[in-house]
Amino acid sequence: MALVLMMKGYLLFTIGVVLVYSLRHFIFTLNRLFGPQRIYYHDLMDSDLKTVTVIIPMHNEEKVAGHILDQLLQADYDWNKLEIIPINDFSSDGTQEILDLYASRYPQIKPLHRAENLRGKPAALNDALQVAQGEVIVVFDADYLPPPGIICKIAVCFNDPEVGAVMGRVIPINTGSNTLTRLLDLERSGGYQVDQQARYNLGLIPQYGGTVGGFRKDVVVDLGSFNTQVLAEDTELTFRLLLHGWKVVYANQAECYEESPETWQMRSRQIKRWSRGHNRVFFNYLIPLLRSSCLSLREKTDGVLLLMTYCVPLLLLLGFADSVALFFCGEIQIFSGILFLLFMAAYTTFGNFAPFYQIGTACLLDGSRQRVLLLNLLLFLFFFNTWYISCGFMEAVVDSLTSRRVPWNKTERYRCSA
């Protein structure tokens, strides 16, 4: 009896959590459609922008290294205030040779070769921060293709004395490759065009995503640089900055192409890594976030929901198992018939489909019409994500309990080399 009571309680808890997130998705969607939109800083023209170091971590990136460097060499920024540090991080392919070739031709490109100490993005960034001259650090992953004006759009926000970090918008370039890339494109659209922008509009917490973004170098160094034990160093930086009174802003106009994973295996590794890293940050920062004197109640609420994002799928998975168990125990009817039916109908209609409203709205705002038809197929991606995010959560729990070292695995590239 007690067990049944617990199971019913857990089911109600799961429904409650999903309803909260559904409400959040709807608020964001309605804000993007009808609410006041905060302007970003990209319209500012200033001849005294800060000095910038662009850092590009690379591990075996010979396929794409030349592409991103070619793009950055066209940057519309004062070259007296710009340097580029591509990091050759324990590469065993031709990455080093490519970087040295570019460095010999262009003095603004200053490769950093790493073959000692810890491997991985956070450690690489920390080493680069020691030699970077710029006041602002802009980070791109190696597969990105920055347009000429993006450095300026990212750097200009640091005129605001409260801004500690900025995140731009990621747009997949290999959208049409297969079903997976098309679904990931939808996911990205919803996440940036609606979710991040709405959080910026509402004065909540846009997240620094670790690429197509920037931060103040001195601030991050003073805060201890990046934690090499956390896979989601970007999420960790977001919360560390917030807890020290800095803001993270979102630049919807700072768009940059990326490569999405093209195989389900690669996607599973990526989403599991994100979940593993993000949940470590959740464990480490939940209490400090709630205790922080630098954040308003709204920011704390959004911060908690943001931290919990990658544990909700596990809650849902367990909730599903719980409901099946209750069904076979003959205990599924928790309230009186009609009330419960209405409750479940509302939950199913609004709860399950809330993210789809967000993604559909993003497609509308992007001027995309036909790709909205793919929304139904996101259901399969949802189940796929739920499983691997849950696996990532479990690994994060073990990481926290055992303090084991976390391995860094890069994402495969699909482009042909330059």
Binding site: L44, M45, D48, P147, P161
Partner: protein, 355 residues
């Protein structure tokens, strides 16, 4: 019967996904979202682009006067003249290319773009779409632009003009009273001082003259405000900096911030509410506000001004300096008093107006 039911079941299962499956096969919308990989920010973008397109479309050397058909963004007829003299009330229906100057009478209408190689004088009450001029532009009273005007020289605008989406020039852009705008770019952008104010002795001296470009000296005495951690001073409620006080470091106010007469801030100012200042305040850095910004008379801002609300600049306010480019950007609107100087860019999503 069983087979029929199975088929029906399959059909109804697949039906909701049919649209998506069809799109996966047909790939009507499979291209990545467009990013313009050639775009760089240029406030004079419209005019530069128009000049380039028109010059490329016209005959290369000394095009003869007359009508000429070509394709710009779409098929157009370009009227080429040596000097354009547009009579009162006349309507110019074609794209106009004047190899020297343009002078228009009152109430003339220009339905298409204009490119003038030397100078342009636009008469009173004219209606124009766009004007690009390789010299100076003078716009007389009551004229309206629906799109943009641009000069590689100076632009001088008389009262009651509407400057459309963009008015830009490489030198001084002068606006008289009751002009309306969205975007301005000039070195500097100025608003006129009413004649009456100029003639009145007590208002004709220092208040409307720009101080020499030297930043005020940072306080070195013991009464300078102590810096908080991170060199930022954060106020949790409405805050004020007293008049004639000097503050070293950035200020962040979570609500409204008041700066008294003569206050000097050596740093940036950010407020989550509104910012209101007295007269003759100085801010050596940038100014940001989630609410409105109201700069009192003769305010001196050396950085950029950015507001999610409105920006009001009372008489004699100066933003930036001749040494560089700065901006005023406001989401909801901008109001300029007399004798304003902005070295660089002014932009609002709402309406800009000169009192």
């Amino acid at each position: 019967m069983i087979v029929l039911c199975c088929l029906l079941f399959l059909f109804l299962t697949v039906l909701p996904f049919w649209g998506g499956i069809r799109e996966l096969i047909q790939k009507k919308d499979a291209a990545p979202l467009h990013i313009d990989m050639n775009y760089t920010k240029n406030p004079r973008y419209f005019a530069v682009s128009f000049r380039k397109i028109l010059t490329a479309a016209l005959p290369q050397h000394e095009p003869a006067a007359g009508l000429f058909s070509c394709t710009l963004s779409k098929p157009e007829t370009v009227e080429i003249v040596e000097t354009a003299l547009i009579n009162q009330g006349q309507t110019q229906a074609h794209v106009l290319f004047a190899k020297t100057s343009l002078v228009s009478g009152k109430q003339a209408t220009f339905l298409k773009e204009i490119y003038v190689k030397e100078r342009a004088i636009i008469g009173e009450g004219n209606q124009l779409r766009s004007l690009a001029c390789d010299g100076d532009i003078r716009v007389l009273q009551g004229t309206s632009f629906t799109r943009w005007l641009d000069a590689t020289g100076n632009i001088k605008v008389a009262p009651l003009c509407n400057l459309g989406l963009s008015a830009t020039c490489t030198q001084q852009l002068s606006l008289a009273q009751h002009c309306r705008f969205k975007r301005l770019y000039g070195n500097p952008v100025t608003t006129a001082i009413p004649k009456k104010a100029v003639e009145t002795p007590e208002s004709s001296s220092l208040p409307f003259q720009e101080a020499a470009f030297t930043l005020p000296a940072k306080p070195a005495t013991a009464n300078q405000t102590r810096l908080q951690r991170d060199e930022r001073l954060t106020f949790g409620s409405d805050a004020a900096v007293a008049g004639n006080q000097s503050h070293l470091g950035n200020i962040i106010a979570l609500k409204t911030l008041f700066l008294g007469d003569g206050a000097i801030i050596h740093g940036d100012v950010k407020t989550h509410g509104s910012l209101k200042t007295g007269t003759q305040i100085t801010i050596t850095g940038n100014v940001f506000a989630e609410g409105d910004i109201h700069l009192g008379p003769e305010a001196r801002i050396y950085g950029t001004v950015f507001s999610q609300g409105r920006v009001v600049c009372e008489r004699g306010t100066i933003v930036g300096s001749s040494a560089g480019i700065k901006s005023i950007v406001a989401k909801k609107g901008i109001e300029f008093g007399a004798g304003i100087k902005v070295y660089g860019y002014v932009m609002t999503e709402g309406e800009g107006v000169v009192w």
